[in-house]
Symmetry: D2
Subunit: 283 residues, 4 copies
């Protein structure tokens, strides 16, 4: 049920993060170890920041492991801030408009997990989306609705607060409609400068989430490893599952926790859904 | 803005209707004469009835003229009742879930035309869809919403009445939201036995629509033409534009008219939108 | 490295063989047990015989497990003779022209395995293809070249002999060019009436191959099982790996063996490559 | 039968050349004015030079006008040297491996036109390709064979000479095999610094070809036009047909002519096929 990767730091070729690691995201598309499914072959997406104001996105319905265009793009595009996502579809169609990351203006959003019994909840959730934003919804994925709910609830001003309110709204609708365990997963969003990630499940344990140790510490741990010498001091990866087995590199984000990775800081905080502070206009 | 074809009669290979005619639907995908666009290359769809209870559908995002699988299917599948549609997208994504014909149970539905300023109207129209049916909407095409509105308004019991009510509902929402010329086009639906088609525009002239002369008359007109000798007495085509130039074969459906083609009869009737008789439950 | 299925018997819906079984070919596209790879997600193909003279083929680059058109086709097309193949690409592009089964006139051909170091051998092998047939080669898969070699060496008159000669030719070229273990796999071909299959490896053990017990015996073994009551007496499946775990249903084809399944007989025979009896004209 | 564009100059976003002009290449994919076909919807390709050693290529089977990923790429990737090509297939499959530009090391190659009766000539031409290069041929397009012939005949050392020798070889094979009018079209190749283009037909008039006036002259002609103020002095486009109607901007390359566009010079020279100077080793 999907795997993802988020990078922030000095610009690198996308392929250094997507293809080079031993257990890269591309490898995970065929052989995920920690995911709900070992195969994540129902399309993929990449979103990257560069010169123009909004990020570029590349979405494909092909499996990441056999898409030549992804390989070309990753080998020839550099970015200091990018998201990548591989999909294992559970119900919604394999089409580009259902591929993560989703984009709105400068924002990207992606998710590993699900809204439970989405077909039961969908109409109520879509009704809670700001009618001005509603026409922008292009696909049928639960994550896209979650993104537009969070945008309707203030994502651009308060990303973690808006995600908390959106999940609270989902849990509220689920309680009303008798849907158990409404939300599961990890979420990431970014404005191109800061990355926010959340690990949370309404019930039971949430999908796995990891972040990398700061680069100066990694350099001390592995003084001879060229990669750590090359990347910038503030480079960070947040990932669904580790890209390799090096001790000291990967740190688990605890359940019910949010992570903020900015150019000059990385912070973990407890996360729990919150009822929307202001009433959402539902017409 | 799309072209379509509907066939009813004794079973024939799909290719006899789709590829064989001089100005076939496949030819129209590159060189439409009467359509709003000469190129209809944004995907296509075929729906056909055979042994099992529900019709099969084949949707592709490739242009009809270069899709090898369509050619194979058409050359190897026979049916006595089928729909085919080629798409010229105007706004919604080129993806299989936006390809006509749409299907619900035994019913197929397709459309050439548009709901004007669909993004402005979409939320109101979607709200008017029966909440039980709402989760079935898989794409973002205006036609799919029109289909689910008509289903919500009784399509399965009274196809033409339900289409009239659905268009009335669209025109009503458009009047409320200040959208001019809300509906344009030709629509076809079938339950696998009878075909119903409508030609209507809220303003100005509607997209073209033609039906074939009855086969016994065609045989008298063209006694040496093998095709007319072979097809069944009750075979009929309804099409967006004629598939060739034979005099006496193609008859225009007048504007504001519906056509009913059943195994034993073909009837034209005036058509105009009607306000829904019963109140639609909007929650 | 691919899995395949071949059916011969009274007509059934393709989905009864492709989707219904517990460990169906569709399931094997995600979770192959006996294949070289657990995932066979690099496209698929189906070839089926019906009314017209030549078989229809449907090829797709999507994984079989998420292709809606395959599901539709399988649910609405019946055939008494069909091939299906799921692909795990090892080198050649994921494109329809590399998908099995390959077709020439009334013949279909498919393969699970490989020609070792194909890039080293390809030019010599292609040169051995009948120049009249050469322009028909549409893709770059090793199997397509094997098929055209076999056609050049008399497949249409003596299928097993031609396959034996083609593999001998490959082994000869490999010996000349220093390529070890040149051929590996299982091969199936048919003219729409009889199916011929081969299990052979130049070195080591060959890919797995199974065929079903005759239906009358299965009915005695499983008197209450509806499926065995419904299928025809002479129905047979030949498969890369069993579609389920029923005792007594699946029989392994030994290594170095060919199987012939005709409407009235099923025969196993030893198989080994044979040098071409007549000189192949190489210009 | 295809249209193409080649740009060299200071880096610009690909979209400035591909989408912005009034009669852009994207517009030509639907409405070519000078091409053999008005619709060029059988896939497309882009090749661009940036940081790494070899150019990136992006190939798609979708029509250029509806491919979202092309739009994204063009809006977010800048390059000072790129090729773009839209395809109207005439015989070979619509697949990525048949999309131009083709790549070998640092070289790109594309073509508008055809090798006449390619199926008749193909085997002889493929035999003339350097056996070391032969396994690199990935598709079935005539242009790819032309490229590998030119590479075999010294393209990397003498591009125009190698193209002349390759066309001579094609014309020679055609004469031997009775194929009339063997070569038609325009060809472009580049090593990432210089662009070489050829306009030539064995018989009759060749496909159209244009290049832009030097930028300093354009600035004098159109002192208020922002675009000409922004692009670098040495920026040049070579195109199948003009991207707009501005007087003084587009200059026709005469028939039987080659164009060389280097950072500091642009030269036209007569072009005619030449028999290969050295014998090609045909085994």
């Amino acid at each position: 049920m999907c795997r993802w990767l988020a990078y922030s730091g000095a610009p690198i070729l996308l392929s250094e993060a997507l293809y080079a690691p031993a257990h890269s995201l591309i490898d995970q598309s065929l052989h995920s170890r920690l995911g709900a499914e070992t195969t994540n072959g129902d399309g993929f997406g990449v979103g990257w920041y560069g010169e123009p104001d909004t990020p570029g996105v590349f979405h494909s319905t092909a499996p990441a492991w056999n898409d030549e265009n992804l390989h070309e793009l990753a080998d020839h595009v550099s970015s200091g801030h990018f998201f990548a996502h591989i999909r294992a579809a559970i119900g919604s169609a394999v089409q580009q408009t259902n591929c993560h990351p989703f984009r709105h203006g400068r924002w990207l959003f992606m998710h590993n997990g699900y809204i439970n019994e989405f077909n039961t909840l969908k109409r109520d959730l879509v009704l809670a989306v700001d009618p001005q934003l509603y026409p922008e919804i292009k696909g049928q994925a639960d994550t896209e609705v979650l993104f537009y709910l969070a945008l309707s609830l203030g994502l651009e001003d308060d990303p973690l607060g808006a995600i908390a309110r959106a999940i609270a709204l989902i849990e509220d609708a689920a309680a009303r409609l008798g849907v158990p365990d409404p939300f599961q997963g990890t979420v990431a969003t970014t404005d191109g400068e800061t990355m926010w990630a959340v690990r949370y499940a309404s019930a039971g344990s949430a999908r796995s989430l990891y972040y990398t140790t700061d680069v100066p510490t990694l350099r001390e741990l592995y003084p001879r490893r060229q990669l750590f010498a090359e990347v910038s001091d503030n480079a960070r990866l947040i990932v669904s599952e580790p890209l390799g087995d090096f001790a000291g590199v990967w740190n688990e984000v605890p359940e019910g926790t949010s992570a903020i990775v900015a150019p000059d800081a990385a912070i973990l905080r407890p996360f729990r859904p919150r009822a929307p502070v202001t009433t959402v206009p539902i017409t």
